[in-house]
Symmetry: C2
Subunit: 210 residues, 2 copies
């Protein structure tokens, strides 16, 4: 098994925190996104979408989606579950993990990739070379505002996004909060539930992964 990644980027960071929480280590090759490592021919041959992370399993199977790699690793290492034990936990963690990713992390990504000069003609990952669109910056910021209120309401009276322990849903939310700083947005002062939760989850040793 081998992992290709760039742990500091928000999407792969989710996987690195997941692995740190579970104590999983594996052979690792850094892909330097700051210097176009994801466009090197050998990496494009592995993943034509030029995204990280990429996990190559022992039989050669290639996984490129964080959710897929986490499902695979959780099944191999069921101890210290981060994706739930009961049927309802599994469903509820997937619910919030998916919503946080789509409504939060993807909202920030929409604003970021359509405004940062380093992403000219790379507003969508992959080979399409799509131009940046200012309207998507605006749209991403509006979606982020809605996300803050959704997450704050969810965390009222809760220590974790789902249930009574730290799960993948907390990891997704933590990475979204930190990614928002890349577009100079921080957790709004009125979101006191998020601020309380954030202080606790960002103090975990695993938060240093990525």
């Amino acid at each position: 098994m081998k992992l290709y990644s760039y742990p500091a980027a928000p999407n792969p960071r989710r996987l690195h925190i997941f692995m740190a929480e579970k104590g999983i280590e594996m052979p690792f090759e850094p892909i330097d996104l700051m210097n176009g490592g994801q466009f090197a021919p050998a990496f494009v041959a592995l993943n034509p979408m030029s995204t990280v992370p990429v996990l190559v399993a022992d039989d050669g199977t290639v996984l490129t989606q964080v959710v897929a790699i986490c499902d695979y690793l959780e099944a191999l290492h069921p101890e210290r579950p981060l994706l739930g034990s009961s049927a309802l936990e599994k469903g509820e963690i997937r619910e919030w993990s998916t919503r946080i990713f789509n409504e939060g992390l993807m909202a920030v990504a929409e604003a970021f990739r359509n405004s940062n000069p380093n992403f000219a003609n790379r507003s969508v990952p992959g080979p399409l070379a799509l131009a940046q669109e200012p309207v998507l910056v605006e749209r991403g910021l509006k979606r982020l505002e809605l996300f803050w209120s959704t997450l704050d309401a969810r965390l009222a009276g809760r220590d974790f996004v789902v249930g009574n322990s730290y799960t993948m849903a907390d990891i997704d939310a933590l990475c979204t909060c930190d990614f928002a700083r890349w577009i100079r947005k921080s957790i709004p002062a009125e979101c006191t539930n998020i601020l309380r939760w954030y202080a606790a989850v960002s103090a975990r040793p695993s938060a240093k992964a990525g």
Copy 2:
């Protein structure tokens, strides 16, 4: 347990095919998307994003994401697995299910919601009232072109998207192919692998769900 849905729409249709394949039935209330049923106050109170499906579990937990509802139902009804048995199957089915949803179904949705007159100011689901953007129609169509070639390459020499049996990844791909017709796009003639696979999967009785 109770399900609120509109089976003919592409996103919830994935769940209805999943349930048909597994033989799962449950109390059901139709939400008439053609007449604004998703904006009725009682439904918005259940799901502020106004999307279907919504599953309310016996303890009152609300699930709104197809992937979350499928994870929940698969854990309750493990027979006839559609999300994989081995760790690697689970990972690979999640990989392709996620990619097909994001690169295929969401590409069609981007073109559809930004062009269909019924979706004026509803180009993104939820309460934000975001305007339609013609540039996103163009972008969705370009992404769909790339998706056809990705899926066709994947299906070369394969009867199913993953492994040797029908899984959630096939369901996602089938719903994407049928949704494409809503924007007057059909599987390109040169995608002979998709066409062969499509003829087989669309003949399954479950394809009539939704």
